[in-house]
Amino acid sequence: MERTVIRIAGESGMGLLSSGHIISRALKDLGFYIASEREFPSLIKGGSSNVQIDFSTKDIRSRSNKIDIVVALDRAGLLYHIDMIKRGGILIHGYERHHLIPALKEKAKKKGIKVLYLPARQIARSLGGSSVMVNMVLLGLLWRVLGFDINNLKKEVKHQFASKPKLLKIDLKCVDAGYKGKDIKKIPQLEIKRNKKAPKKILIDGTTSIALGAIQAGMRAYYAYPMSPSSGILTYIAATSHETGVLVKQAEDEITAAQMMIGSMLVGCRAMIATSGGGYDLMTESVSLCGMNETPAVFIIGQRPGPATGLPTWTSQGDYNLAIHSAHGEFPRAVIGCSDPHSSYELIQHAFNIAEEYQIPVIVLSEKTVYDTHLTVDHFKHKKIPIKRGLVTGPKELEKLQSSDRYKITPSGISKRWLPGSSPAYYYANGDEHWESGELNEEANEAKIMIEKRMRKEKTLLKNLPAPKIYGTKKGAKISFIGWGSSKNTMLDVIRAYKTKGVEVNYLHFDYLWPLKADAAKRFFENNKNVHLIEGNYQGQFGQQIEVKTKKEFKGKLLKYDGRPFFFDEVMSYALKH
């Protein structure tokens, strides 16, 4: 078995997240690679939340929709997942009145699902615990089914509840009782291959990674207005703010957050905001301001499906067009797409550098699934990406500056930037069209020259951006894909899976989405005959740009817009069919 897929399902408040952490960490200790993500509805009504953990001896990046084992903490979880579990899978639950649901038995029989029931609530209570500890009992049983040493699990239970020693004792007893599985006639046991040595990795999600990247990059102020799925960034930056000293301010709305960020950036303090599409809509006038007065700015959009409130807790790649087209007028910008913890950590650092060096707004796209997916990855490096501010700071040079240097017409489009107050040469950071010192100017000739100067920055940036990366064979793949964002994770798993079958699949991944290195895509089309788009939206927005700019056509488009990420199996079978 290449990967094992576990789902823990129940209502929020039943210890789902902590259960997920415990199991993931225990598996990581045993040397497994993990891809885990939680799903939760924004309204809990009949629906059910869950944490899914895929694990393997090999590096895995995406989730499968073929679930091997479901641990249902409540009735809703049980009912919902009996249909989701794969043929021959295992269903672990503690719902006392399960015999009142005849469909359960029927479905289980039809699909060959082994149902393991423990009166978990009673067990937890008899050990002095509460009904929340149902999860501990069932995790114990899960661990038995997985065939691992109970001590590995208990170590992580201890880690999770170290701050609550009294409850911890009961938790551990519950785990033990579950592991024993008293009265269950036959407990199936999987035989899962393990790595000899646990790789030295961290298990981390995209939210934490992007926050850490920003902190690493010297972000010293964070402004926010809560909005899923980006609120986690506020939580993390605030939670670590005593150690980092980062100034955190929850503003009265998104416009304020954006304006405060811009105000801070203008005076030289690296600052950031993160929101979702709706919040970003409110910020777009501010994006335009940065385009005009050339103030660096970093905006993060955590994508979820729209329009309007849409599916607030689900994932999407639907805001590509928003990111590249948002805000009135014409001005240069950079749009960057994060795909996993590492890229989140690194790209946000590049985002700050680009914003400051090119004096443009940078829009960083993440996705609910990128934020929430925990992956086993290499440690993040300190100081791998140097801070580049594009600022005049030398005292002698500052003395010599002229006001007109600030918006000087240059071949690259980039003029000198220095902080307010740092030089005798003052300037006007003017949102009105202006001439070289920032003074208002409405003359036709000057307006034209100034717009052209600003737009040249985009050309300069395009030249300097790193090329998109090809994963898998460079040429002649049986099937090829182009995409961005979280699609990379699924593609990496698919490429490896097909490789073991002797089939070459490759994938061209874009981190930098605007300006667009279309030449690389063109070459990719030329070197591969069967190129498809993989993108998480209805229109194939990024794909449309690729087609326009390369004058090539995709052979097919794998599009998804149901709030879920690309599952491993889906892409496997798409590739098979095409």
Partner: protein
Amino acid sequence: MPKSKNEISKVLKTLSRRKNIYVEYEGEEVITWCHGCGNYNIQNALKRALTLEGFKYRDVLHAYDIGCNGNGSDKIGGYTVHGLHGRSISLGAGAALGNSGLKIIASGGDGGTMSEGINHLVHAVRSDYPMLFILHNNHNYGLTTGQASATTPKGFAMNGSPDGVVVKPMNPSEFVLGLNPTFVARSFSGDIKHMTKILRAALKHKGFAFVEMLQVCPTYNKATPQEWYRDRIKYIENLKKYDPVDPDAAKKIVQDFEKEIYLGIFYQKKNQAPFQKRLPNREGIKTSPHEEVKNFNISKFLKAFE
């Protein structure tokens, strides 16, 4: 305006001694305000107050709104940012928090401040950001050619409201006094000495200083011209018993905008820690955030994910 000859000559002497500082505030661009516009005097009073309080042009960042007042953004000598309509307070607040060494002076019109961006005003007062905000209240939308604003008196016919404004006007200083502020004052564009005095006090204030300038707009505001104000203006300084520490007294005296319009400092709460000093996580940090931009070693945070 009540002021002893002595006091005035002292001020003038200081100004002439510091003329080198003062002239730096002279911009080079051609001014585009109408003849008789109150904005001339407001900007001049600001230059005086800055000079008298020892601020050099490099110590200050001006955040301008969009409107007639905002068109002064490139007329003053110094670093300025000319942002978006209604947003100068938020942009200024971000600058104030980002660089605590700069004096931030934001300004805006009655349109931008009392309508488009009134939420920013409310929360800036509440947050007590360390900055000065000057409201240019000319009772109309000047730059868009004389439409009614939230402060236009009821019944006045304006561009776009030919039958007269049918709703009651807001009184900005009264509004701000209801927000538990730390500094609220009002002055008049026709009295440069009074404006200078008020602005000096506001520049010294550590938190959010709100100064309302009653500004004449001879072009579009025929309702409240210079003479109209002259007949109504009274000075708080002349009230023997008034002490600007009593919010109730302030709320009473600020209300009347028909018979007696009071100018002066309505209310000030000194010695209140401004916003950035209230952040427990920055206690004891001596640097300004903008000086702290370097690679921060996050290795210790990774331990939790090993």
